[in-house]
Structure formats: C-alpha cells, structure tokens
Symmetry: C2
Subunit: 363 residues, 2 copies
C-alpha cells in the first residue's frame, strides 16, 4: 500500500453530541469531513481532513446541471469494548469505482479511500453513538465541479466523506412494512444507470415514492423498465422472498444495485445450509406463490435498515399479506446475526468487519 499523506486541519470548535432521542437519520453531521480534489492532468490530489463546512461552488459547476455524481453509504459501529468496526468497506469503494466507470468519473484508489475513512473516523470517534441499534453513517460522494455549461465529463471533481450519527432507520425497530408495487414509473432500465449509485436514480424515484406515501405505503417495489413484469428492488433496498422453503432474489441484471447487505445475506443463508437462488422473478409468479400459500417471507436489505421485513404487497388491486404481517423467522435471524456481527457481539466467520485503530489522537 502506498503512503497517503492526508493533511489534518482540526476544527477549533466542537459541536455538542446528540442524545439518543435526537438521533434521526442523516440530519446531524460531525465536526470534520474529508475532501480530495481531482484535476485533469494531475489526478486526485490534496487529500485533507478539514472542519465540516459549506462547499463553495460556482453556479455553473457541472454537478448542478448535468448530475455527474456518485455516492456510497456504509456505517461504523462501536463495540461494547469500545472498538470501532467498519462493515465490508472495500465493497463500497469498489462499487463506487464501478459507479464512477458508468458516470465517466475517474476512479479513486480503494486503499487510499479506506485509509482516509479510517483517519476521519479516528478523529470523530466520540461521535459514534453507543446505544443499541445506533451507528455512524458514512457518506462518501463525488461531484463534478468544472464550471462549464456543456454536456461532457467534467475535468474537475471533489471526493468528499461526511459522517452522521444515526439511530434506528425505522423508529419502531424491525417491523414489517407495506409496499406498493409500481406499475407506471420506472427506476432504471437495462442500458441505463440502475447498477450505479448516482444521484439521478434517486431523483427519478421521488414521484412514485410520493404517490406511495399518499396511499400510506412505506416504499415502492420497482419492476423492470421494459416489460414491467419482473421484480427489481424495493425503494432503496434489494429484495428477497422465501417461497416454499427456498430463498430467491432478483439476479444482478444491470439495472439493480449490487447491495453489500444483499451479498452478505446470500452468503449467510448459504452458510446456514439454505437454498438461495438469484434469478428473474415475475410478479405473476409471486402472486401464484402467495395464492398457493407458499410465499412465506419477504424482506428488503440495505445498509440503512439492514433487514426490513415486508408485511404487505399491493399489486394493482390485489393485496398480498405475507406471514400474517409479522416478521418471519429468517428475516429475524438475518437481522440479529448481521447486526451482531457488525457490532462485534458475535463471531465474524467471513471476516466482514474491519477495525479502525485509533491512529490519530484527538483531545
């Protein structure tokens, strides 16, 4: 691994840390952030940890007009013996680079990014909340900063990492949600950007989410953009179904995000001796399984909620209640196991966690 000299410019002031009850999701940010610049011809340069502060950007910067950007989301956890653990961070930065490739953004060095993250977290260790179910949410992102109005890849970028102490994603804890199957709006299509974690995918999802909210459904289930038949994802989560004893999840087809939680769930289920299949699943098949009484469980997977059981699916006019609307045993066990590994409470058979050594002494 190369030496990466990250400049350290600590904030003279420290904000008060939130209490457990004040923790929401993504509202509170820590005292520092990481920034690194990219300039064409020079590559990525000037990595630095600086006080958390507004970005000053020319109004013509390409991010505002052409949306050239990518991001990631992962978490750091505090163990009972006061160690800090990251969960498979290399997968997030590898995925960031795959998103970069799709969006014509120059790749970042994965080792360097992990090193930067570790140093930043080391500085902000006091910000990691210690209560059950809480963590420090990590948001790495890259934005195009060339001041130019014209559709082409930017010649300048900023790579930034900000941190936010967060509570449970769903305030009620692991509790089944109601999901609306979306028949009109499309999130992504083969040949589009569905596989990449880029801002535009989320902007285009807002309209369907707004309609779901109005109907009091918590998220939408996206179908494929071509035939609107096959299941893709649930809101910002991958999705799994237990049908007649077997677990199935949509195969990675180019329009689905390759979730870190999804991958971990597949590995765990196989480790437990269960059958897991990645393949195409149609709504029609799901409905038939439900009618035959074989749709035993359904759940979403993602960094924010980890496992989010699905208690009801509404498809056109048909309501499918799953497992009587209560959390099923596989969902429950996955949630318990993954969160326990993340928090260092259970053995980590796959070496998923990475410890953040206290490399910077901050008083």
């Amino acid at each position: 691994m190369k030496e990466h000299t990250i400049q350290l410019n600590l904030s003279p002031e420290r904000k008060p840390k939130p209490q457990s009850a004040d923790l929401g999701f993504g509202k509170i940010f820590t005292d520092h952030m990481f920034i690194m610049d990219y300039t064409e011809g020079q590559g990525w340069h000037d990595p630095r940890i600086v006080p958390y502060q507004p970005l000053s950007l020319d109004p013509s910067c390409m991010i505002f007009h052409y949306g050239q950007s990518v991001f990631e989301g992962l978490k750091a956890y505090l163990t009972e013996d006061n160690r800090v653990l990251l969960f498979r961070p290399e997968r997030n930065f590898q995925r960031l680079n795959r998103s970069n490739e799709r969006l014509c953004i120059p790749a970042v060095d994965v080792d360097m990014a992990i090193e930067a993250l570790k140093q930043l977290i080391s500085v902000e260790k006091e910000w990691i909340p210690k209560w059950e179910g809480t963590s420090l949410y990590i948001r790495p992102f890259i934005i195009a900063t060339e001041p130019f109005l014209g559709v082409k890849p930017s010649s300048r970028y900023q790579f930034i990492i900000i941190l936010s102490p967060v509570g449970l994603y769903y305030k009620e804890g692991i509790k089944p949600v109601k999901i609306l199957v979306e028949n009109e709006f499309v999130r992504a299509v083969a040949g589009g950007t569905g596989e990449a974690k880029t801002a535009g995918n989320y902007a285009s999802s807002l309209k369907a989410q707004e309609i779901a909210d109005r109907k009091e459904y918590s998220q939408v289930l996206w179908l494929d953009g071509v035939e609107k038949k096959y299941i893709e994802e649930v809101g910002s989560m991958n999705v799994f179904f237990k049908i007649n004893g077997e677990v199935v999840t949509p195969a990675l087809n180019g329009s689905i995000l390759d979730g870190v939680t999804r991958n971990s769930v597949i590995q765990l289920l196989k480790h437990w001796g269960m059958t897991v299949t990645e393949r195409r699943i149609s709504m029609e098949e799901l409905r038939e399984a439900h009618q035959a009484g074989q749709l035993e469980e359904a759940f979403g997977t993602g960094t924010a909620a980890i496992i989010s059981p699905i208690g009801e699916l509404l498809w056109k006019d048909e309501k499918m209640i799953i497992n009587d609307g209560v959390t099923g045993p596989v969902s429950e066990k996955l949630f318990h196991t993954i969160t326990s590994i993340q928090g260092g409470k259970e053995p980590d058979p796959f070496n998923w966690t990475m410890e953040v050594e206290q490399c910077i002494e901050v008083k």
Copy 2:
C-alpha cells in the same frame, strides 16, 4: 400580472467583456445572477439580482446526493437596431414547471420568472455579443438545498438564472455532423424522466457520448429504451427526417424532450405548406428509406445549434450517407429563417419573439 419586487444588489466591479474570438459555449459568465429561495410553508421568496458569485452549500445538501434538479436553456439576441429579443421564453418556463412536476419540485410563477429574466438581462445588456451567430445563453435552474441525507423531496430549493455570452455552437457554422446510433446505452424510458430536463438524464448520457467521441462521431442517436428500435433524439436535440418529400419526427411519447426548436420547426414547415408528421419511426424504416434513395435530409433541432444537419448515420455496421453529406435545402432554410426571426431580421409571423425593454438603468 402581480407585482414582483426583485431586490437589486449590483456588483461594484465589472469583468471585461469577451471578444468575438474568445466566445465559446458556456465558459464565460456575466456580472450578475438572479436567485430566489423556496422554503416549505413559505413558498418562493426573496427574489434578487446579485453579483455573480459562488453558491455556499452544506455538503449534505440534497442536490449533491439525490440529484433533485431541473434546468432550462434559452437565448437572448441583440438586433441590428440594438433591441434585445427573447425567443418564446414562456415555453421554457412552462417546460420548467413540467420538469418540476416530475421531479417533485414546487412550480415557479411563469410571469414572475419572465419578469426576473427581463430585469436580469436589462442589467446585463452590455454582455450580449453583437456578432453574427452570437447570443446570450440563459440558464435557469433549480436545485434542492435541504441539508439532509434521505430520499424524499427537499423542503428547500434555490431557483437561479445565470447568463453566458456564446458564439456559434459549432465553430464551423451550419455543417453536417456524423451521428452514431446507440444500441447499448439508453437515455430514457417510458415511466422514467426523459420528458423532463433534469440533471440525471445528462449524466447517464455521458458514457455513450464518450464512446461516440472515440469513434469520431459528433453525437449519438438514442433509441427507445424498451425495444431499441424506435428513434428518440440526437444527443441533446430533437431529430427530423425528410423522407420522400415529407418531414417526420418522433412523436412526444413521454421519454423525449418537448423541444422549443422542435415545435417552432413543425410550425414553420406547416406554414410553408409542407407535410410534417409526428409519429413513431424505426431505424429499420429509416434504413429502407435510405436504401430506396428516399432519405433526403436529416437534422437535429435545439436551442444551442438551432438546426444541425446530419450528414452520416452509423447503425451497427451500416453507414448511411445523407444528401451526400452536405446541408440540405430544408435544413438550410429552417436555420436561416429561425435565426433571422430570433435576431429580428425577418418578420415574426407567429409572435415568437419577446422584447426586453430597458427597465433598469445601469451605468
């Protein structure tokens, strides 16, 4: 029309104006910009003209992460007798509101937006270049500014207008371009955001454009996202074909932008007594017309280039040379007529131009 009190805060310094040779596209910005804020519960407020300056935004602002944004592009022209003309600006702001609707952004008052634009241009009149083919490019845009990491519509926005003096879009003037038909990547799909002018659409187009550049093609021709059979748009332009004496253009189907130039071209052609049809057109049909010697002209339409004739289309391995690679008479006449109306050199039978009265005296 309501009274809209726009605060005026003029810059103490003025930048030097560019010479003809320095005019590119979207690189140089004027001394002032227009800004207006939106706050949930309060609506749009505090419209103001201020010195052109960087935006100061929290790194958690939603625009950086979820791409909730829309924009427009139009131009102001200086006539030979020193009047300032806008070209159909109401259509741009109406389209902005349709984009807003798709992106869950609150609508702006069209009259208010036009009034703001007029005042801004009035302040910046000296910036409008006077040379043949030049103009003042106008970029209105809206960005989500709530500092929050979570996928939902923002509770705060900024509506901004910036201005850039521009030269000819293609340095060589009206000259046929080579276009690559894109078979892998998709710009937009029914149910997506293709009809809206939102940042993400342009980010997702970069990859295909990069490949076209490498093959020395100037733009890509997008096919529909479902069957990859039907013609949608060319780069950031709508597209027209003259086949056996008739002009055809893809119908507005939800994934195509409703271009102001497209609409103007349709009206002009009808005015001239030509047959224009908006319908679905497949690449297969185009190829057959070409083989039969009936593909007489092809051209893109858009605010930047107005009319951009197409001299060659590459579809898979098949090269189609159109009109011997030279500009056809219909393309030529459209370019000449539209630019003449825009510049006040020809009668304006449709009342397309709107004069900007010198409402603010600036020394």
